[in-house]
């Protein structure tokens, strides 16, 4: 894992001191709310429905046990004993008091963490594949790139007042687990077919929100050494030409859409050619220094498959199901990457109590080379487990309510906090997720349905990624009540697709029935081992629309 050097340490500490002073000036009346708001947002402090909210950056979703324990402590001491992991792989506390936030920031700085650039019109937390460094389909670990971008973009003077927020994601694998096509910039490490050199495919202009767009490729093979100069060129074109007259049209996706990807690319290339690359690009020695922090841990030499694991699976079907659903093949023989579900039936997706965080921290320290990850799907990953330790880990997780065997299944729902917490929300998300989870709680039925991603947002801003859910649910207000719009056919992978609306909005209590009808169509029509989304692609929307319409008509 990356460790702060003296510059990182100093800048985070200085920022805490500045914010402590700003809070004091707000409290003594020297700063008005209008003056204070942009300052607090730059430090991750929002005012939500019931209280302030603090959003903590988890760079590319990577944490060590000490950091997670500190988050547990903060949750207990300053919040209500739990936190919420977000689709940006960050952690949010829902109840901090403004007067306590400087102390919380100091505690975070003690473990090399902060809340800088988790809000505001700047480059936000850079996300990456949560199986970085361990996935079998990986060409190169994306985290050194993500860390380089974090350092380059932190307090970058030229990009601190962008037209709107800006999100970057990086993957180094063939299969996109980082949703790069729904980001302002998506980077994919890939090999050049002729030179075999590792390059970046650069996509720009993806994003969800009120105008969902899939990112467009502006460079097929960017040499790795040119990354920062090329990013700077993209940011300059956006900073100069992105719209500032209308916040709903201010994201780079609108600029790319309005002038066209060819013209946007031309302007970026022109700027890139004008830039003095060597003065912008990172020093190769610095790149190597960063990369060294992400060197693989020293794995034991183990057989491909653990006999202990096979024996415990044979003796315990529930354990075997969990292993099958929640683990991912690992680069190192005898190892596995485990996804811990934060989606137990009936709980708020992505919430973890301080006790649960401590347990996961202990497991990471003891079994996973002191490392864990946060996924954009609001789960946690222990990336370096010996297969033979899985049974012990499963038992310990089970005692803490963390052994749900549902990763990728219909109850592994992404949901934003929605109107239960969020001041921007137009409807609740969490109770909808809970109702669907209860409807599909049966393990056998979930497995029968197979991979099915439901994603729920409580407003058009789409923090719950509803556009790219196989089934998406968007909560809106319709004539003074909550109304839910269902979309179908979205996809978050390398085949990123925006889902299409199935029909009129439904009342909250009718949503589980509608989902049930959609699933029934799939189960009746699927061929062989076809997954839900494959069936949707083959069948088209019509049969699902017809079934949905029956629910809509019945309640109309």
């Amino acid at each position: 894992m990356y460790r702060y050097d003296e510059f990182d340490e100093r800048f985070v500490r200085e920022r805490v001191a500045q914010f402590r002073d700003q809070v004091a000036r707000r409290l003594d009346g020297s700063l008005t709310e209008d003056e204070f708001k942009p300052l607090r947002l730059k430090n991750g402090v929002y005012l939500q429905l019931h209280a302030y909210m603090l959003r903590i950056a988890v760079p590319y979703g990577t944490l060590n046990s000490r950091q997670l324990r500190q988050l547990a402590l903060i949750g207990e001491k300053y919040d209500r004993g739990y936190g919420h992991f977000t689709t940006r792989t960050n952690l949010q506390y829902n109840w901090p008091k403004l007067r306590d936030i400087p102390d919380i920031l100091d505690l975070l700085a003690d473990v090399e963490m902060h809340c800088i650039q988790t809000s505001g019109n700047c480059i936000r937390n850079v996300t990456a594949d949560h199986f970085a460094g361990v996935a079998q389909d990986e060409i190169e670990d994306p985290r050194p790139t993500a860390e380089l971008i974090r350092q380059w973009s932190s307090l970058h003077p030229e990009f601190s007042y962008l037209p709107r927020k800006f999100k970057i994601a990086v993957t180094g694998a063939e299969h996109d687990r980082a949703v790069i096509k729904a980001h302002d910039i998506g980077l994919r490490l890939r090999r050049h077919p002729d030179t075999h050199e590792i390059c970046f495919e650069v996509s720009v202009g993806g994003g969800l929100g009120r105008t969902p767009m899939i990112g467009k490729v502006v460079r097929d093979y960017l040499p790795k050494a040119d990354l920062l100069a090329y990013l700077e060129a993209v940011m300059r074109v956006y900073n100069l030409e992105g719209r500032r007259d209308n916040k709903y049209k201010a994201r780079v996706k609108i600029l790319v859409h309005e002038i066209g990807v060819e013209e946007f690319t031309r302007r970026v290339e022109e700027e890139f050619a004008r830039l003095d690359g060597p003065s912008v690009n990172a020093d190769p020695a610095e790149v190597a220094r960063i990369a060294a922090y992400f060197a693989p841990p020293s794995y034991e030499v183990l057989p491909e498959t653990s006999r202990v694991l096979e024996a415990t699976k044979a003796a315990n079907p529930a354990f075997a199901r969990w292993v099958e659903t929640n683990t991912t093949p690992h680069k190192a023989p005898g190892y596995t990457a485990l996804t811990i579900s934060l989606k137990p039936i009936g709980e708020a997706p992505g919430d973890a109590t301080s006790e649960q965080m401590r347990l996961v921290a202990d497991l990471a320290e003891q079994y996973s080379h002191d490392e864990l990850r946060v996924t954009h799907a609001q789960n946690l990953v222990l990336p370096h487990l010996r297969q033979r330790d899985l049974f012990t880990i499963w038992q310990k997780l089970g005692e803490a309510g963390l052994a749900s065997a549902n990763i990728g299944l219909i109850t592994d729902i992404i949901a934003c906090p929605g109107l239960d917490y969020c001041a921007l929300a137009t409807a609740r998300s969490i109770p909808i997720a809970q109702a669907i989870q209860r409807r599909f709680a049966d393990d056998e039925r979930q497995r029968l349905i197979g991979e099915l991603n439901i994603k729920i947002s409580g407003c058009i801003n789409a923090c719950g990624h509803h556009h790219i859910g196989h089934i998406g649910i968007l909560g809106l207000e319709k004539r003074g009540i909550e109304s839910y719009q269902i979309t179908l056919g979205g996809e978050a992978t390398e085949n990123a697709t925006i889902g299409e609306i199935l029909g009129p909005g439904l009342a909250a209590e009718d949503v589980p029935d509608a989902i049930g009808r959609i699933v029934d169509v799939y189960l009746a029509e699927r061929q062989g081992n076809e997954s839900f989304i494959e069936s949707v692609r083959r069948l088209g929307l019509a049969p699902f629309k017809a079934a949905f319409q029956e629910v809509a008509n019945a309640v109309a």
Partner: protein, 119 residues
């Protein structure tokens, strides 16, 4: 942050977030008749006419300007069992807390024992 520019239908109450804590507070009549803040929605002062609404608006403006609260605005209410209940579900959430966590927020009595001490 300015108060909501348009006055909602009456009857209405005034709510805001306490600056220091972020808690939702409601304007209520104190012992001397002057307005103070309470954390208990049951004690919110109900404005039934324009004059009372103007008093709440003036209090909101004063309290925003003197940095006691943020996001203060009037909310239209119905009277149910003798208590004001916001007509809109969003503001109703503010008087209760997260619906998935009945153990948290005002619905769990959080902060309400300090009701009459003001914000």
């Amino acid at each position: 942050m300015a108060a909501a520019p348009k006055r909602p239908a009456l009857p209405a109450i005034l709510l805001a977030n306490d600056l220091l804590d972020g808690d939702i507070v409601f304007a209520t009549a104190g012992a001397e008749g002057a307005l103070i803040w309470t954390r208990d929605p049951a004690h919110a002062l109900v404005a039934n006419d324009d004059k009372a609404a103007e008093q709440l608006e003036a209090y909101a403006a004063n309290q925003l300007a003197t940095n006691h609260v943020v996001d203060a605005y009037l909310v239209d209410v119905a009277i149910e069992a003798g208590q004001p209940v916001p007509r809109h579900y969003r503001e109703r959430m503010k008087t209760l807390g997260p619906s998935n966590r009945p153990d948290l927020g005002k619905q769990a009595g959080e902060g309400i024992e300090r009701a009459e001490q003001g914000a």
